[in-house]
């Protein structure tokens, strides 16, 4: 491991900004930190607690025009900028990006996602504190897990321990003034874990359990839990008229929305809050693993923290595993 001192950090960030755009956590108001395009390295906050929106929107923006067409200008595909550095992403969010890769990079790959993914270097950041909602260790990662990042930083006194994991990461670190690390790797914080191994099999037997209706009593059927989730990837596509033509827009969507599964005939197979809420958990813990061989959750706890009525995925997992959700 190498060491980047606090003093050299600013210089490093400046040189990264010379190569491409730098996206990092930045404070925008009291209690609100978001991954933002950095103009001044002094704005980067590497001690942030949490961002409501995970950095997935760098690859899969909340809304974008896929293309435009007009009689005068013909067919246009909006450009995707050059190189980018995504700095300061937590292990859970880096896992989130790997999970997004499954649907977006499977054949045929989504060209816009793929371009953005290829141009971006992920510079991870170890967590020296766990938040009360963290349970990432349930999914094979942990506070210092570097496996889904190109380079990884661990905060220590006076700076960061730094390690390159891929060629891209080595290139990014080459722009820094590195010292030999004389500080040992600190002990990561304890993060509680849920043994999710059996959840898929158990869940399948609980599909018709009244548990989902009781849980859904409280649910608001908003889309918040999907929008804050680093591994939710649903979207809607529509064409809209623009001056002298039209554009095709893709925007985030969520299975919690009552409009999500309405079919052209007008029929909706998921008419109740309970059937929508159940879908959220089944997709993450049953269908997604069936399709891609990994759980569709990173244990980041965002849905736990931001759900306005505290539908807690950890409680749901435990209820499933303990068979509390049994069919009556």
């Amino acid at each position: 491991m190498k060491f980047i001192s606090d003093k050299n950090l600013r210089k490093w960030l400046e040189s990264l900004m010379g190569i491409g755009s730098l996206i990092a956590p930045m404070d925008l108001g009291p209690g609100l930190t978001l991954f933002s395009q950095i103009r001044d390295p002094g704005d980067v906050n590497l001690e942030y607690e949490t961002t409501p929106i995970p950095p997935k929107d760098l690859f899969f923006p909340s809304s974008e025009a896929l293309f435009r067409f007009s009689p005068s200008r013909g067919y246009e595909i909006p450009e995707i900028d050059g190189e980018a550095f995504l700095l300061g992403i937590r292990p859970c969010d880096a896992l989130g990006i790997r999970l997004m890769d499954f649907p977006f990079l499977s054949e045929p790959a989504d060209p816009r996602y793929e371009r953005r993914r290829r141009r971006t270097t992920l510079i991870g950041l170890g967590c020296i504190k766990a938040r009360p909602e963290c349970f990432c260790t349930s999914f094979g990662i942990g506070p210092f897990d570097a496996s889904n990042a190109d380079a990884f930083l661990i905060p220590v006194k006076g700076g960061f321990l730094a390690e390159a994991r891929t060629e891209k990461g080595a290139k990014a670190l080459a722009a820094a003034e590195l010292e030999e690390a004389s500080i040992p790797i600190p002990k990561p914080p304890e993060v509680p874990s849920i043994d999710v191994g059996a959840v898929r099999e158990v869940a399948l037997s609980l599909f018709n359990s009244p548990y989902w209706e009781r849980l859904a009593d409280r649910c608001l059927s908003c889309k918040l839990c999907a929008y804050v989730c680093p591994s939710c990837y649903c979207f809607d596509i529509r064409d809209y008229p623009i001056r002298d033509g039209a554009e095709r827009i893709r925007s985030w969507d969520s299975c919690q929305s009552p409009l999500f599964s309405r079919q052209a005939s007008g029929y909706d197979p998921r008419q109740t809050k309970a059937s929508r809420l159940r879908n959220r958990f089944y997709h993450k813990f049953s269908y997604f693993p069936g399709e891609f061989g990994a759980f569709g959750c990173t244990g980041c706890g965002r849905c736990v923290r931001y759900c306005p009525v505290n539908i807690d995925v950890r409680e749901v997992l435990l209820a499933i595993l303990r068979g509390e959700a049994k069919v009556a």
Binding site: S63, L220, Y306
Partner: protein
């Protein structure tokens, strides 16, 4: 708390109601969340303290056709009246348990706090405006309503350009998750204008112009109907100060029509009545 549990057990045991909508401790061990008690056993989980911020009236339209009991603070009780007034809730179906309230704390998930929510600082009621059973000791007199709301005044003092900038920077962040709408007891339309695609109102694009239509449209639809429960602002993951808009509009409706949401379930609505002498 014991009184609430006892009342819930009595109502559930006697079969008077099928469900008691109250609060239980949230999974952080600090804050509260809505809770639906269906049996006397469930009722043991009910709590009430100054972390019970949610406006449970939001759940009443979901429960139509069944007799339920609901726990309300003074602000929440106004929403119950709005729902009755707007024909969304049948008064006969709801047993309202009111609680005398001294304000709730500004707690967010996992963070204890003893600071009152802004709305509670100038709330002029301690006793719910509608109830079948009251819990707690009503004060000798209700507190005075302050003449103005500091946060609204501070915004009013800014120039139009500054206000534009203020809201622009906030609305630009909106992700249109609709949590503010879904948590609101006054937002019950089967199809929201913002989901309307034919004809198109806002569309699916998440961007400043569309967000602007959404956020302003939402606020306007709640003028004279918002009970200032603060639910929308509390739910917003992006920290958008929605309550300031609601409060400004509630103030205008009061000035223009002398009307406050939910005080009298029989009063005619300013936006559903028309008098010839009214001019803009």
């Amino acid at each position: 708390m014991e009184e609430i549990r006892a009342k819930a057990i009595e109502l559930l045991r006697s079969g008077e109601v099928k469900c008691f909508i109250g609060y239980e401790r949230a999974s952080d061990g600090l804050t509260a969340r809505p809770f639906f008690a269906y049996s006397a056993d469930d009722a043991g989980r009910l709590i009430f303290d100054r972390t019970c911020a949610h406006n449970l009236a939001r759940y009443l339209p979901d429960m139509r056709g069944q007799r339920v009991a609901i726990l309300v603070k003074p602000c929440d009780s106004r929403s119950v009246n709005v729902l009755i007034q707007e024909g969304q809730v049948n008064r006969e179906e709801v047993y309202v348990v009111g609680v005398v309230c001294d304000g709730v704390y500004k707690a967010s998930w996992g963070q204890p706090s003893q600071e009152l929510e802004a709305r509670c600082l100038y709330c002029s009621r301690r006793v719910p405006v509608v109830y079948d059973h009251l819990i707690g000791q009503p004060p000798a007199s209700e507190p005075q309503t302050p003449a103005s709301i500091p946060e609204v005044e501070a915004l009013e003092r800014r120039s139009a350009k500054e206000r534009w900038e203020f809201w622009r920077s906030h609305f630009a962040r909106c992700i249109r998750c609709n949590a503010c709408r879904q948590i609101c007891p006054a937002c019950y339309c089967p199809q929201c204008f913002s989901d309307q695609l034919d004809p198109l109102w806002t569309g699916i694009r998440i961007g400043l112009p569309q967000n602007w239509v959404w956020n302003v449209g939402r606020a306007l639809h709640l003028a004279g109907r918002c009970a200032d429960c603060g639910g929308c602002e509390r739910a917003c993951p992006m920290g958008i100060p929605l309550a300031a808009l609601n409060r400004k509009l509630a103030g205008r409706v009061k000035e223009l029509f002398g009307f406050e949401a939910g005080l009298d379930p029989r009063a005619p609505f300013p936006f559903a009545t028309f008098k010839k002498e009214e001019v803009l």
